[in-house]
């Protein structure tokens, strides 16, 4: 068999367009932003790229470091909840009857067909003070309240709407809602490839269902779980819209601070430095994952 990589002309022909595209519209702009991060404002619209590290020094001040850590915590919690919720969903799809699988996967991907902004606005009207959740609760409260008196309890007071919006709970809820498909899809891919006879063997040999999942399924699906974690964590860390629209007074994440540098503060060098801090963190995560994969390959 002939290796297609031995045909450099053909290979170059196919690769030229995407590589040019990537260089022109990704590497070059990113390089410009990277250069800005070593510059300083010399006027309203002019930036002098002087090679200074002042922006990075400022980005490492406690104020910004704390916001950064808070964003990491929010993204980590989001990822964890996505894993806990997404794992059973991915299992269910992987073990569903083959004719159902495409439909179930479609259901998971369906939200992607609607713009994030629209979905967030939909959540706003679900969770609001007079939103659907609170309206339903109020109805229940007013119509089931007599039960309380019937069984000898005090008459319930007037309904107090739950504060579901404009706080950190809302941000986590919104982020989980948005990022769940990112977790379910790689998990499904890993679980679907699993040799089902191993599970049968485990059950036959006396391991319970829980033990089978923790000792057999989870380790075998580990690569899928890790890519799911990364693919959820990275966009969650940089999320901007959800904390902006659903968050309360202290829900700002690092991306909101970056946005303000580019707009209101008109301090592009500092905004660029903050963006690159975020990017360095992401790169490190992905590099660690790649290293781990290499180790696994080397072992096997």
């Amino acid at each position: 068999m002939q290796d297609w990589k031995r045909q450099p002309g053909f290979f170059a022909g196919i690769a030229a367009a995407p590589v040019t595209w990537l260089i022109l519209f990704f590497i070059v702009p990113l390089g410009i932003v990277w250069a800005y991060s070593f510059g300083r404002n010399t006027g309203l619209t002019s930036i002098d790229i002087s090679g200074t590290f002042a922006n990075y020094a400022r980005a490492l001040e406690p104020l910004y470091l704390e916001i950064f850590l808070k964003s990491v915590a929010v993204a980590a919690l989001t990822t964890l909840i996505c894993l806990i919720v997404g794992f059973p969903v991915a299992m269910a799809i992987a073990f569903a009857a083959p004719r159902w699988k495409p439909w179930l996967l479609l259901l998971v991907m369906l939200p992607f067909w609607t713009n994030l902004l629209i979905r967030t606005y939909a959540l706003l009207s679900v969770l609001g003070t007079r939103g659907f959740v609170n309206q339903s609760l109020e109805w229940l409260w007013n119509h089931v309240g007599w039960l309380m008196t019937a069984i000898g309890l005090a008459e319930p007071g007037p309904f107090e709407p739950l504060p579901l919006l404009y706080n950190n709970f809302a941000v986590i809820f919104g982020l989980v809602y948005v990022h769940l498909p990112f977790m379910v899809l790689p998990l499904y891919a890993a679980l679907d490839r699993l040799d089902k006879s191993l599970i049968e063997a485990s059950l036959d040999l006396g391991a319970g269902h829980w033990k089978t999942i923790t000792r057999i399924v989870a380790p075998l699906a580990a690569p899928g779980i890790i890519s799911g974690l990364i693919i959820t964590f990275v966009p969650a860390l940089g999320s901007y819209l959800t904390p902006d629209l659903m968050g309360g007074t202290d829900s700002q994440m690092i991306a909101n601070v970056i946005e303000r540098q580019f707009k209101r503060a008109n301090d592009w060098p500092f905004g660029a430095a903050l963006s690159f801090m975020l990017m360095y963190a992401t790169f490190i995560l992905i590099a660690l994952q790649a290293l781990r994969n290499k180790k696994i390959e080397a072992r096997s």
């Binding site: 104020l63 910004y64 504060p163 968050g247 202290d250 209101r264 503060a265 008109n266 301090d267």
Partner: protein, 378 residues
């Protein structure tokens, strides 16, 4: 061809506004100009002014405007009168406008910056002087808007609207009338029912007003004081909103919002439990203006368009839709008394006298921003 971008919110606003004001959207016709409108596809609504002479440029114009900030048929009418297609894009904040134009004009002919950004863009050499000879409708402008501190003699900008910040509130839930900034800035009376504008500069300047200072005299020491006050008040504030406080108020999320009078006036048409007040300590005035950015591809069309927007009839139609206070005296004269005598749109002169325009202060803006980041992180 789509002539302008229309959002859902905009449609909702316009419809309810027109219903509220009892103005028919179409069917207003002035003189036998129906012939002009045949290209505009809107045969019933003829242009409100006479035919505009061709400028010799290609009949196109790129207009960069705020959302819900133009008359129902204004762009079609202008096309009817001049044959020029107006392509309108929308921005949400002055900063967005500035950021977009900062690296060079991407092709806009007319933009609508606020007063302090006019100063900023003049300093940054981003807008060009206007040729008053091409804008004869400047005669319609209220004389008090001609010699303004941010643009003496209107060299660079034509006033489009003016507005003032104040407190929008739900009458049934807020007693007594919040005639001071105190309930918003310095009290737990309305805990969890307050939303403030997330504009660092505006917030710090208004806190300054509450402390009895001019919006233009704040110092670094004042910022420290105000920052501490804001951190103290933060637990009682439900959200920092992006210029959509009126929606939070209507939806019942909060009962008091820091907002512009025009935004609240738009919502008062739908919900009569809402009112607006300028606190007794005074407030901050803003004015949105029409400017031509440097490098505009169609400067002559841009002048013709600005002149058209300042026309009395065109101005009347814009005002009917957006309900903002207009600096166009001729247009105001054509408006019904319900608008002219609306105390929200035109607050009492005694209160307005205590309000100031914010000057552009490049030294203070980064300080405001960093202090506000600290407040939000606290």
């Amino acid at each position: 061809m789509e002539q302008r971008t229309t959002t859902l919110a905009e449609l909702a606003n316009r419809r309810s506004l027109l219903k509220g004001l009892g103005v028919a959207a179409v069917g207003l016709s002035f003189g036998g100009l129906a012939a002009c409108s045949k290209e505009s596809g809107n045969s019933t609504d003829a242009a409100a002014s006479a035919k505009i002479a061709p400028t010799g440029e290609e009949p196109k114009l790129n207009f960069y405007n705020w959302d819900t900030y133009i008359g129902e048929t204004t762009l079609d009418d202008f096309k009817g009168a001049s044959g020029t297609d107006v392509n309108m894009s929308l921005f949400a904040t002055n900063d967005e406008l500035f950021a977009k134009l900062r690296a060079g004009n991407p092709g806009f002919d007319v933009i609508v910056p606020s007063n302090d950004f006019v100063e900023r863009m003049v300093t940054a050499d981003m807008i060009v002087p206007l040729d008053h000879a091409q804008i004869p409708n400047i005669k319609n402008i209220d004389p008090s808007f001609i010699d303004v501190a941010y643009d003496p003699g209107r060299k660079y900008s034509m006033p489009y609207t003016w507005l003032v910040l104040g407190i929008g509130y739900r009458k049934s839930k807020v007693k007594p009338v919040p005639d001071s900034w105190k309930p918003l800035f310095d009290s737990d009376q309305y805990k969890g029912r307050i939303s403030l504008l997330s504009e660092a500069g505006d917030l710090f300047r208004l806190y300054g007003k509450y402390l009895g200072k001019s919006v233009n005299d704040l110092t670094a020491a004042d910022i420290k004081t105000i920052e501490a006050m804001m951190i103290k008040q933060k637990p009682f504030v439900k959200a920092f909103h992006e210029d959509n406080g009126q929606d939070l108020l209507v939806k019942g999320e909060v009962d008091l919002v820091l907002e512009y009078n025009g935004d609240i006036a738009q919502k008062m048409v739908e919900d009569d439990d809402i009112d607006f007040i300028i606190p007794k300590e005074g407030s901050q005035l803003n004015s949105d203006t029409l400017c031509i950015p440097k490098g505009a591809p169609h400067p002559k069309n841009a002048h013709a368009f600005i002149n058209y927007l300042l026309d009395a009839q065109a101005g009347k139609k814009i005002t009917e839709t957006i309900l903002y206070p207009t600096p166009n005296a001729a247009a105001k004269a054509l408006m019904p008394d319900t608008y002219k005598n609306n105390p929200v749109v035109f607050p009492p002169a005694a209160l307005l006298a205590k309000c100031e325009y914010a000057k552009f202060r490049p030294d203070m803006q980064p300080l405001y921003e960093e202090a506000f980041t600290r407040v939000r992180a606290a």
